[in-house]
Symmetry: C2
């Protein structure tokens, strides 16, 4: 058991690319993913699952069709399933995502921002 602890900051120091979530832990069929984000993502939704955003460092905004929420370090937000959202960050922001295994970062959209899934670090 000893060596399975996960240090969030150490894991974050291992990559620098943006909008490319890395899996760091699994709980049943859910995954904890770390990502560095900067600039704008795309509008998308996840039809079958809620998605949790937790800010480790910096600030991010999640836009919704009816408003937006600004999240700072130590704040989290649950985006309900089926709700369209567009994350963005003015400056680089480090986040943890918690969602079901198999969820794509771009939801129902597939484009050049769609990250490889199940990418462990």
């Amino acid at each position: 058991m000893k060596n399975k602890k996960i240090n969030i900051r150490k894991k974050l120091s291992k990559f620098n690319d943006h909008w490319n979530p890395k899996v760091v832990a699994e709980m049943n069929d859910y995954q904890f993913k770390l990502a560095k984000i900067s600039g704008e993502f795309i509008w998308h939704q996840h039809k079958s699952t809620d998605e949790v955003f937790y800010v480790v460092e910096g600030k991010m905004i999640i836009e919704f069709r009816d408003g937006k929420v600004e999240l700072s370090k130590g704040e989290m937000f649950v985006v309900p399933k089926g709700v369209e959202h567009k994350p963005y960050a003015e400056k680089e922001c480090h986040i943890m995502l918690i969602e079901q295994r198999g969820v794509l970062n771009t939801g129902e959209v597939k484009n050049e921002l769609t990250a490889i899934n199940d990418n462990w670090i």
Copy 2:
């Protein structure tokens, strides 16, 4: 959407009891719970689900039958389902737990440490 963000530190400032997890968010059928812990808990297990510990402030130890792991601020650990564990903290420690809705803090044991479930803050 605007007002549903969760500030972990603000939530933690709202209670002072130990070993009594408070729900702050729900994602599908999983819950995010905050707890302040101090001293020793009991040996227990969760037969049907993994459980995540994330340290927000301080240090804690999770003992297993074959060893132990020490977790500091910013570190997390997934206790696999069915693995006996005993959390403890020498000094007060603030943690976030992520587990399925309905999971009891004392697992298969029920005693005076068994917290009321689904206790939102």
